[in-house]
């Protein structure tokens, strides 16, 4: 798994930062937040599909991480540990929202910024209006399809397909067995294949 760390940041090991955090050093925690905030935000957004809710959930997750950092023993990577918190916070929120409203709404599709991996070296090519519209439409279809999965299935497929996490890492993050992860992945893929076949077949 990749982080946002620059070479200079990478010099300071994650474990050192965690130890400093455990001693109450907020600057060290700030450094850890800088490394993971984009990934955490992106992961939550792909689960809840609303920028404001994503912002709040990401903030809550990091605050929770700060409060419980002293309990981090280093048995897993910090990334897995923070993801576990993020997933607990997000899945709890989704469950409460489903109970209250009977479903998840879709909005904020147009306010997202794209990160082009080559943007620093290649002049940015402006997308044509019809391309932007088409892409928005595809994203809306994907969001709608993902919203039909259970919170746990969403978490599993996103961690596997977007984050490239291994089965055991996903299991550790969600606090379940590897078999459960594989089973959830099976059903999530089947459902998404049915809902999005025309999308990926026509691109």
């Amino acid at each position: 798994m990749q982080t946002e760390a620059t070479p200079a940041q990478a010099d300071v090991s994650e474990l050192d930062l965690v130890r400093r955090c455990q001693a109450g050093d907020t600057e060290a925690f700030d450094e850890l937040v800088s490394r993971y905030r984009i990934r955490v935000f992106s992961m939550i957004y792909n689960m809840v599909h609303n920028e404001q809710d994503t912002w709040d959930l990401a903030q809550d997750s990091f605050v929770k991480a700060w409060k419980s950092i002293k309990r981090f023993r280093g048995r897993s990577s910090f990334y897995t540990w923070i993801y576990r918190i993020v997933m607990n916070v997000t899945i709890d929120w989704l469950r409460k929202k489903q109970v209250k409203g009977g479903g998840v709404e879709f909005d904020d599709l147009t306010q997202l910024r794209e990160v082009d991996p080559a943007s620093k070296t290649v002049p940015k090519k402006e997308a044509l209006p019809y391309e932007t519209m088409e892409r928005d439409e595809i994203r809306a279809r994907i969001d709608k399809a993902i919203a039909q999965l259970s919170p746990e299935q969403r978490a599993v497929i996103l961690m596997k397909e977007i984050e490239d996490m291994q089965y055991h890492e996903i299991a550790e993050t969600l606090g379940c067995s590897i078999g459960t992860v594989m089973s959830r992945l099976f059903y999530a893929r089947k459902k998404l294949q049915n809902l999005l076949r025309d999308v990926y077949e026509n691109i």
Binding site: T26, V63, W66, M182, Q193, Y200
Partner: protein
């Protein structure tokens, strides 16, 4: 023992190897359909990765700033209103004051209660009423008339006892 779903997922992700792989592939009723399913799953994975990994935070620095503020609030003791802060030093004086106020209130209450009870004593009230009634009885029409009043505590009644009256005065009204 893995379930079919687990084996299928492991097969799609290239996690099945050796004997497990050959056994699983041999168990598939339609190898061509399974391969098509595998290709489908890959396309789905590519679509998700391409479309979803581009989403990101729009204001990273503000995000961190807000988080720093929240953590700073967690670390510092809760701010008190100015009036509370001023009174914080006099807390030790407040408790004795409260005790004194309570004791004084109790004493006043007791004194007041004793005085009121003392005034309502029927032993003093009865002769007073008798005296009034005696004054109202006309000695000309009822020369031997006597009036007395007493209280029967057992029955909780007050008895007005009159003797030798020819008639009650017209304007008599004992209240």
């Amino acid at each position: 023992m893995k379930t079919f779903e687990e084996k299928w997922t492991a097969w799609l992700d290239g996690q099945l190897t050796g004997r497990e792989l050959s056994e699983f592939e041999a168990s598939l009723p339609d190898k061509a359909a399974a391969e098509a399913g595998k290709a489908d799953a890959r396309k789905l994975g590519e679509l998700l990765k391409r479309e979803l990994s581009a989403r990101t935070l729009t204001n990273e620095e503000f995000f961190s700033h807000q988080l720093r503020e929240r953590i700073a609030r967690l670390r510092s003791p809760r701010r008190r209103p100015a009036w509370q802060a001023r009174k914080r030093g006099s807390t030790w004086w407040t408790i004795p004051r409260l005790l004194w106020t309570g004791a004084m209130s109790l004493a006043v209450f007791l004194v007041f209660t004793v005085l009121v009870m003392h005034e309502k004593n029927p032993a003093e009230e009865s002769p007073y009423l008798t005296q009034i009634l005696n004054a109202r009885v006309d000695p000309v029409t009822s020369p031997n008339a006597t009036v007395s009043i007493f209280e029967v505590k057992k029955d909780r009644v007050t008895v007005l006892w009159t003797e030798g009256l020819q008639s009650l005065p017209a304007d008599y009204a004992a209240k």
